[in-house]
């Protein structure tokens, strides 16, 4: 079983107050501590479990500046066999579509016989949840989002459980497949010291847009149809209201309020 895992480097939550947006709407990442997007670690953990049960290889793919190399080393310490960083000035400013296109090109080139691609359901910085579905389209693979359980069934079919509004769905996916996962899927492992030492003998390969045969017009800002018009912090206010009247009236009003506020449907 050959599994590719896509990971994104995102600003550490403690650093969010230091994030600066450029005029083009992209993030100024220099000087900001990055981490592996937390739910992407769940994707990697699941890939490692599948390899442990079924054999095969696990390769990690990411796109970003060279500073992402140290985080890919962390993925190797968790147990991935290989890591690929798509790093090139042409990739800068990519939206989700250009990112998916580049990641798909990387997977096709370096892991053409893949059985499964796993990625986190959304990143904690932009949170679009678009890369998984777009990646599946570029790879021509079946796809599910919001998976909280994956098991490898007969004939290399994946049985996937995904959350629904009043329960969950159980779906069989034939390989090759792309699955976006949630935090409920597993608990990511912490690398042991032995894993850390072993990771230093593993290779991280940097791939350029030329090596992936991606012209500039299909990469980065130029290849991105998304144009950011404005970025702003959505104001969040606490709503405090003291209910008055008899106990019955107050209870009735209380039961009505969550629906009015849109908290409960």
């Amino acid at each position: 079983m050959h599994v590719a895992v896509c990971v994104k480097m995102v600003p550490a939550p403690g650093q969010w107050s230091r994030i600066v947006f450029r005029d083009d709407g992209s993030l100024q990442r220099e000087g900001i501590e990055l981490i592996i997007n937390p739910v992407d670690r769940n994707a990697l953990e699941e890939a490692l479990k599948i390899r442990q049960a079924r054999g095969g290889t696990v390769a990690v793919f990411s796109m970003g500046p060279p500073s992402c190399l140290e985080h890919l080393r962390e993925a190797l310490a968790m147990g991935a066999d290989r890591a690929f960083l798509l790093s090139d000035r042409n990739f800068a400013g990519a939206d989700t579509l250009a990112t998916s296109r580049a990641l798909a090109a990387g997977i096709k080139k370096e892991m053409p016989g893949f059985d499964l691609v796993l990625c986190g359901s959304a990143s904690i910085d932009s949170g679009t949840a678009q890369v998984g579905p777009q990646l599946a389209a570029y790879l021509g693979a079946a796809h599910l989002t919001e998976a909280f359980s994956i098991s490898v069934g007969e004939q290399n079919c994946f049985q996937v459980r995904t959350a629904g509004s009043h329960g969950y769905f159980v779906t069989d996916l034939r390989k090759p497949a792309v699955i976006s996962v949630t935090k409920q899927l597993n608990k990511p492992r912490i690398p042991t010291l032995f894993d850390i030492m072993a990771s230093c003998n593993k290779e991280i390969i940097i791939l350029s847009s030329a090596e992936l045969s991606l012209p500039k017009s299909e990469s980065g800002l130029e290849g991105s149809p998304t144009k950011v018009r404005e970025l702003f912090f959505s104001p969040a206010r606490r709503l405090a209201r003291i209910l008055e009247g008899s106990m019955e009236d107050r209870v009735e009003e209380l039961l009505r309020q969550p629906g009015v506020a849109g908290v409960l449907k």
Partner: protein
Amino acid sequence: MDFQPTVQQDLLRKAVRQFAEDEIAPLVNEMEINDDTPLDLVGKMGDQGFLGVAIPAEYGGTGMGHLARMIMIEEVGRISAGIAMALQVMQMGAGMVVDLGSAAQKAKYSPLLAQGKILVAPAITESSGGSDLEGLSTRAVDEGEYYSLTGRKVFITNSHISELAVIIAKNEGGAKRDFSAFLIENGTEGFRRGRMERKIGFHGCITGELIMENCRIPKENLFGDKGRGLAIALRGINDYGRMGMAGIALGLMQASLEASVKFARERILYGKPISNLAPIQFKIAEIYADLEASRFLAYNAAWLIDQKKKSDTQVSSAKFFSTEAALQCTRKAMDIYGAYGCMKDYPLERYCRDAQLLVPADGTNDIMRIIAGRNLAVKK
């Protein structure tokens, strides 16, 4: 001069920090109440390779070295000084067996020690104190086929959870400085555990007595050469014990700094966060400066040990400077919290209690000054 940590050291810091936050932090409140070392946690630390950080790969460790160990103790100490203390002494015992044991002792115990499957407690201190090593009264009598040990060791870290002990004892009839070291397995006739101490801090780390009454030690359990007991004790204390104290001090200062900044940004006085007030900024700046100065002293001393260079002046200086800095920094952090700092709901009072324990352990700070001062001042 390259201040950049290696890739391995960076990954180690991240992994240990995550482990400490995920696995140790949830146990801290319980340890404060029952003052017990969670053995499940010890097993997990063994599985992660924590006990073998400074043990070479051929003996079951990773050989990452003493600087890596310092970073590890700092990260564990940031969450729990008690567990950091227990861990650093486990590493000290394992390290002493690998560094100083016979080939047979290394082969028998090292892989198990490196994985935390068994623990060894170095036992040097007696009721007369730990600094005056020549005043130790535990006696070893050579009975021909075995050694007979009699004496009482006190303030021994991990005394009641270790399967092995390294005992320093005076050779009966020998000269003033004629001491030897012995390995004793738990269950040996005449060897037992005594009382457990109740300390003001380091909760989660067991400290107690080990008692020998005509305890028969097989000849092959002599640890190192006969008559080298004091040298063995000092090597373990210098390379592991004192460095461990400095590492815990760094962890307590880092925790104090983070707690102070967080509280100062959230606490509103006169309509503004107190982080805007100069006296609060002064305290935070002083904590930071003390932490960084201590860190450079401690890292340099650990690096010297890794390079197998003479390090007692640097180790002693790092020990007294960083532990006294930790006392001051934890107190300043408590001051920033005001009355909240005196409440058990916040960790500040725990940091202060833990910092005080760093001062006498592994050689008092006055002894540290004597070592460094004598090395620097006395003409040789």
